[in-house]
Symmetry: C2
Subunit: 516 residues, 2 copies
């Protein structure tokens, strides 16, 4: 993998001096077009061996190009706000909008590699993290980002020399830290870890450029040329039909039998039973939200469903039991300009709350595979890949002490008509039936199909869907509340069990340690 980056690449001064002025002009020109068009964002990863020229390269980009459209992210230790969200949150929040260049020095590779080298995670966990990166980068590219990855390499001997040389020069001495030498001691382990990461993530969409770091002129010209070509090709690309879809079709529903049809929509609760159950479940939620463990976790609740299925009412039965500081309701409407300038899931990542809170999404990221699919707002390739991206997103939440609860509120077509008519007769504006509601209704079967595919492809053990029979509002509300409480309680019990076991083990270990 690194063989060709240990050949001793060199550029002589004459060539360099001849090439650089042209290159700089061309880079500035392409950056101007890129920033003006705002068609896509450029994400540049700068990784590699200490002393191989990472920070010199970043400084070079800022010098050769217009620093006003470049954002550099050092990404050292995460802040407390970052630690309370899944690890990728800090990268999501730092993604550049279209028309800007985001340079990541400490990238999503840094921590997995360091964790593996230091033995904090085993090989399996390491591979899993790298696989996640592959999916994340594929998503970025699919969303239209230009992703350019540079890896600066030095052979072991070259790195030793380089660090020595930096240390000798009084102007650069400060740059060599004890950490650099510690890492050098681990050169072979890093080499192995790096190689694996690079091999697994050198994909067709986003291959690594592995660049020998020893010769400054070679390094600079290589970076400049590849960046220029990468940007120029994308900037000059003609808009047009998205590339032909090679998406295999989903399972067809030949016999017209599907999940939604299997629901028994006749479930109902009497007013009295409802009121008793409501009080019971709301008190349960109050208790759970006051549990000390609640402050160490998050809850994300997704509400999807037919128009007029009662999402708002169900949400209010949850919020009614909570202190207003413990929850946040996020209604999802059309994306704003800032949101459109970022990958699809960005606008949901940005609403993830700190620990100890319930975030209720009134409609959600599933819009991609529902309305955007049915109405044709997103091409097939985009909504097809959304299933996997969403599963990934929810997996990250679940691994970060977040309980993900998803509801589909289902009514029959007849019950919807009854509610539409009822709403047309009320004077309250909030119940206004719009043309869009009627239009959606006409596509009832298409939506049903989309819902079934969605449930099938995104109901996971860590974030299962709950289908809620909603012809009777009382029944639906209690089912929502009960499910939510069950899930939170289940999480808490699981965690207490684990902690007890760990506690025992820790005690056991302590005992052992004493004996020694």
């Amino acid at each position: 993998m690194f063989e060709s980056a240990e050949l001793g690449h060199k550029i002589d001064k004459a060539t360099y001096d001849k090439e650089v002025p042209k290159l700089r002009e061309a880079l500035l020109d392409v950056q101007f077009d890129f920033a003006a068009a705002k068609k896509f964002e450029a994400i540049i990863l700068v990784g590699g061996v200490d002393g191989a020229g990472r920070s010199e390269t970043v400084n070079l980009l800022n010098e050769w190009m217009d620093p006003r459209h470049i954002e550099v992210h050092g990404m050292g230790e995460p802040s407390d706000e970052e630690r309370e969200r899944p690890p990728m949150w800090r990268f999501w929040r730092a993604l550049p909008p279209k028309g800007r260049i985001g340079v990541f020095m400490g990238s999503w590779y840094s921590w997995p590699i360091v964790d593996y080298v230091y033995g904090n995670i085993d090989k399996e966990a390491y591979h899993e993290k790298i696989e996640r990166i592959v999916r994340f980068e594929k998503m970025l590219v699919d969303e239209g980002a230009l992703l350019i990855k540079y890896w600066f390499h030095l052979s072991k001997e070259a790195q030793r020399k380089r660090l020595k040389a930096l240390e000798k020069d009084p102007r650069t001495r400060w740059r060599v830290t004890k950490r650099d030498w510690d890492h050098f001691e681990l050169y072979d382990r890093f080499h192995e870890a790096d190689e694996q990461a690079l091999r697994m993530t050198s994909t067709a969409e986003a291959p690594w450029y592995i660049i020998e770091g020893a010769d400054t002129r070679y390094r600079e010209l290589t970076v400049g040329t590849t960046l220029l070509e990468g940007l120029r090709r994308r900037v000059d690309e003609k808009d047009g039909a998205p590339s032909a879809s090679h998406v295999p079709p989903l399972l067809p529903s030949i016999d017209q039998l599907h999940l939604l049809k299997s629901l028994d929509l006749s479930h109902a609760l009497s007013k009295k039973a409802y009121e008793r159950a409501l009080e019971e479940q709301q008190s349960r939620l109050v208790q759970l939200a006051r549990d000390p463990l609640f402050k160490e976790m998050s809850v994300v609740v997704v509400f999807e469903g037919n128009d007029a299925a009662g999402k708002g009412g169900s949400i209010r039965r949850i919020t009614g039991a909570l202190d207003a500081r413990q929850y946040q309701v996020i209604p999802i409407a059309a994306p704003t300009e800032d949101e459109r300038a970022h990958p699809y899931l960005w606008r949901f990542w940005r609403h993830l709350s700190r620990r100890g809170r319930i975030t209720l999404f009134d409609r959600s990221w599933y819009g991609r595979v529902l309305v955007e699919r049915v109405e044709g707002f997103a091409p097939e390739t985009d909504w097809m890949r959304a299933y996997g991206e969403i599963n990934d997103f929810e997996d990250q939440l679940a691994r970060h002490e977040t309980v993900v609860v998803k509801f589909w509120l289902a009514t029959s077509k007849e019950e919807q008509m009854r509610r539409f008519k009822e709403r047309e007769q009320t004077g309250f504006k909030r119940y206004k039936i719009t043309d869009e509601d009627w239009r959606n209704r006409e596509k009832w079967e298409q939506y049903e199909h989309a819902v079934c595919d969605m449930v099938e492809r995104t109901s996971t053990d860590y974030a299962p869907w709950t289908l809620v029979e909603s012809n009777d509002k009382n029944y639906a509300r209690i089912k929502v509340l009960t499910t939510l409480c069950d899930r939170i309680e289940g999480y808490m019990n699981g965690r207490r069990k684990t902690e007890k076991q760990n506690g025992k083990e820790a005690k056991g270990n302590k005992g052992k340690a004493k004996k020694k």
Copy 2:
């Protein structure tokens, strides 16, 4: 101040039951119109005595209205990311966009009041903080926000009873903490502090509603009714010409002598002198940025100037000396949709960086009193109040260990013409002269006038303007770099001196303590 809130207001159940259904319908209706129109944002402050019904009121709002368009902010301890910015940053980032309601429980009043009551700040400092709040709230209202402030009051005896009652009931016992009783012990001090704050901030634009907290029905009806009226009046307001300007004119320039004319634009530096000075000043900047103190401060640099005055070139001479992780260049163009949905300064607050970084603004908040004034994008009332708002903003930066450096790059009209023509002949797109550049040039004198007013009204001792004679680029770049270094160095020296003195005092105290 609190007299009428100790009268024992009460509403009987029959009246309450009669009024509430109508009120809730009307509230939902007005909220629907409000959310659909997105004409303004509603900011609701909920303050007052512990146990007087603050959190009940917030929960009520969420119950009576649609919680999907309400954001509640508890605002407890600031996070580390918040601590690294001026104290108001956390409120700025939490301001709701137009069409949404933001409820602040811990508001900008909480910390000043608590600090004063606990003796952390003296009366003068307290008054100053309250004065700042007055200006902040005036800005919000001037920007179009609806600001509604509720203060829930209980007499000392009523509060004691209320806390006791809460403690007795097993369902509410958890809500009474030691802190509540500690505060109760300080009732009289709080009373004094609250009264001052309320008196000083009960302005015409945003008066307080002081509401007796003892009777729940009275409290709820009062809140509901005032909120309904406040929202309804603003929602129904006709768009139209902004209210007539009562702004007194600025000082006219009768004799045509002004600041910019007094500049000696013939300053120049030879290439050799420039190169020597550049190396010298850049090394100085490198040293300063490596000083341990640099990690505990921030630097904000503002670049304004005539078109083609050389802002970009000056910025690159600064960034060229720094590690790319130490700075961020923010080019200011037209605001995005998210930005337009917030008060004017919001889009600058959001870019404030954490400590240890230099943020360079290529154009800035001064657009308000330059292009927006001259081109008539902002009505006179808006740009006239901007001077004070900007001074306030920069004062907050300066008090929060931020060095604010502002440059006006001035060229002569002739030199600008020369550069425009030169640029028209270069092939590089980034130097394209646009129609807008020519249009701006036609308004040269109006811009000159606006610049003079700006410098006069916003050059403060904590954030002075530096006028940079820029007919000669070499001279200008060196002046910019030197000024920046001087300011950073000056700050560091000042801080070291203070710390030394404090150290001596601390030592002195220690000595004293020992003697005892």
